[in-house]
Each structure stands twice: as C-alpha cells, then as structure tokens.
C-alpha cells in the first residue's frame, strides 16, 4: 500500500525523515512491550498462586463458619457479629510499572486488639476459628485485589502497545518504504527522460 504523494525531492526528504522516526518509535515500543510482558508474566504467576491459596483458605473459613451457624441460632450469630471491634480503611497509592499506573494498597487498621467482637459465652469455637482464619486472610485478600487489578491494567496496556507495534511494523513502515521507492523511481525516470531530451536536442542542433 502506498500513499498518494507528489514525487518531489522535498517529499522524499520529508518521508525519509519520517521513516527514521517511525523506526525508532517502533523499536522503543517493541522494547516496552517486551519489558511489559516480562513483568506481566511474573505478576500473573504470583496472582495465580495467591488466588489459589486464598480460595483454599476461604473455603476452610467458610466451612468453619457454616459449622458455627449450624450450632448457633441465627439471631445470636448475627448479634455477635453486629458490631465489629476492628475498623479497616485503606490508602490507595499509585505505582508506575512501565507507564501503567497500578494501585498500591496500604491498610490502616484501627482496632481493638481483639478481633472477636462478641462474648465467648454464647458463641461456638468454630466461629472463633472462622474469624481467626478470615482476619489473617484479609491482608492477603487485599494483596490479591491489588495484584489482580495490576494484571488487568497491564494486560490492557500490553494489548494497546502490541497494536501500536503491529501498526508501525506492518502498515506504516512498509507503506512509507513503498512510497519512498515510488518517488525515487519517478525522479530517476524524470532524470532519464530529461537526459534523452537533451541528447535529442543536441543532435538536432548539430545536424541543423
């Protein structure tokens, strides 16, 4: 594919400069893509590991919790959990990984050292153990949220970068090359016809 241009020297110079820029851009983007993918693979491995771990732990916690629920009346259970003693909020910072902004979560715990918000008399031991597992897991779950978000954002960026790299590599640069070739050939052609013309005129002058 070749863009329609005037075959002039000026156009040729302009295009040659443009193709240099395009090639440099392509190289930079390609490097960025490689690095992004490298980081991404590391992160996604961590993501997978963390998720599997959390799903397993959560299952255990829920099993305990279900046990607790079956041993206690619904109202008592809800009442016990009604007023949590801990209060958690988070700070979100930004981290820049290869021009992708990913969230960085920092946890602020305001607590009572006691995670059990209830008296021990009416509740069962299974509830305690469920709560203990869960509270230990929260940090990990937030870590998962963070890393999973980062992975999603990076996947997006990689896709975008790849599209740009491909557009440069397979469309823009070849089309420019072709146009340059076209102009060069046209200019050469003009030159040749000019020479022939001059020779012809010279011959006519000499004969005349």
């Amino acid at each position: 594919m070749q863009t329609r241009v005037n075959p002039t020297r000026m156009e040729l110079t302009r295009l040659k400069r443009q193709i240099v820029t395009a090639r440099r851009g392509h190289k930079l983007l390609k490097d960025k893509q490689d690095e992004l993918i490298k980081t991404f693979i590391e992160m996604v491995k961590e993501n997978k590991r963390l998720r599997e771990e959390i799903e397993k732990d959560l299952e255990m916690a829920f099993r305990n919790f279900t046990m607790a629920r079956s041993q206690m009346p619904q109202e008592v259970l809800e009442e016990s959990l009604m007023i949590p003693s801990a209060r958690i909020s988070i700070d979100i910072g930004k981290q820049n990984i290869m021009s992708v902004n990913v969230p960085k979560i920092k946890i602020n715990k305001e607590e009572g050292s006691n995670i059990y918000s209830y008296g021990l008399a009416t509740t069962s031991a299974e509830l305690d153990s469920a709560i203990t597992i869960l509270s230990g897991m929260l940090d990990k779950m937030l870590k998962l949220a963070e890393i999973e978000k980062a992975c999603q954002l990076m996947a997006d960026e990689i896709e975008k970068t790849r599209r740009r790299v491909n557009a440069l590599e397979y469309v823009m640069i070849p089309s420019m090359e072709e146009t340059i070739k076209f102009i060069t050939m046209k200019l050469d052609e003009n030159e040749r016809s000019n020479i022939t013309r001059l020779m012809k005129i010279k011959q006519m002058v000499m004969e005349g």
């Binding site: 916690a61 279900t66 003693s85 958690i88 909020s89 709560i131 509270s135 949220a145 896709e159």
Partner: protein, 111 residues
C-alpha cells in the same frame, strides 16, 4: 492519598462472615440489587470490592465495566458454596489478552 473503604458483596450467609473484620458488607439477593449495589459502591469511596462468584456470574457486564479503571478493584471470591472457577478464569483471560496464548494454565494438563 485519601482514605478508601473495603466492601464485600454477596449472598447474606457468605458476607456475614466478613462483618467482624471491619469491612462493610452488602448482602444482595438478585441481579438487580447486585448491579445497583456495585454502581453505588463504585461511586462512593470503596476502592476494593470483593464480590462472590455466585453474584458475579449474574452480572458479568457490570464487572467488566470496572476492569480498566484503577479504582475500584473488583475482586472475585468464592462464596460459602465453593468456587466456580470464575475468578481464576478472569486471570486466565488477562493472560490471553496480553500474550495471546495461555501460557500459565495450559501447562496444567501435562502435569
């Protein structure tokens, strides 16, 4: 840096367990409620929203909507009825999107 909150959205029995940790819980019963709740939470100061897979299954568009935004981060968790594999599927989707082929999970079959 400002303060953000954490929310857990899911069926009542699942989210109740999280109550004592100090995160905010939002029990939802159906698709409509779930959509509404998540929209509301995203507008408020919730940066991390854990959604159970059972609920997420019903509202894939809503979940996808926040995929490309930095905040909120919607993370799927299994409910008390066990995992449906959607969460891990999302990770897989990311990999396929980024690399084109599934390099992490394909190997599992051989092992």
């Amino acid at each position: 840096m400002s303060m953000y909150k954490i929310a857990v959205v899911g069926d009542k029995d699942t989210v109740l367990a999280f109550k004592s940790l100090g995160v905010d819980i939002f029990p939802v019963l159906n698709e409509k409620e779930a959509n509404f709740t998540i929209t509301k939470l995203a507008k408020e100061n919730y940066a991390v929203i854990f959604v159970t897979e059972q609920v997420a299954k019903e509202i894939p568009e809503k979940i996808a909507q926040y995929r490309n935004q930095m905040i909120p981060a919607i993370t799927l968790i299994p409910s008390n009825r066990g995992t449906l594999g959607i969460g891990i599927g999302e990770v897989k989707k990311s990999v396929e999107k980024a690399i084109g082929v599934d390099i992490l999970f394909g190997r599992e079959g051989e092992e």
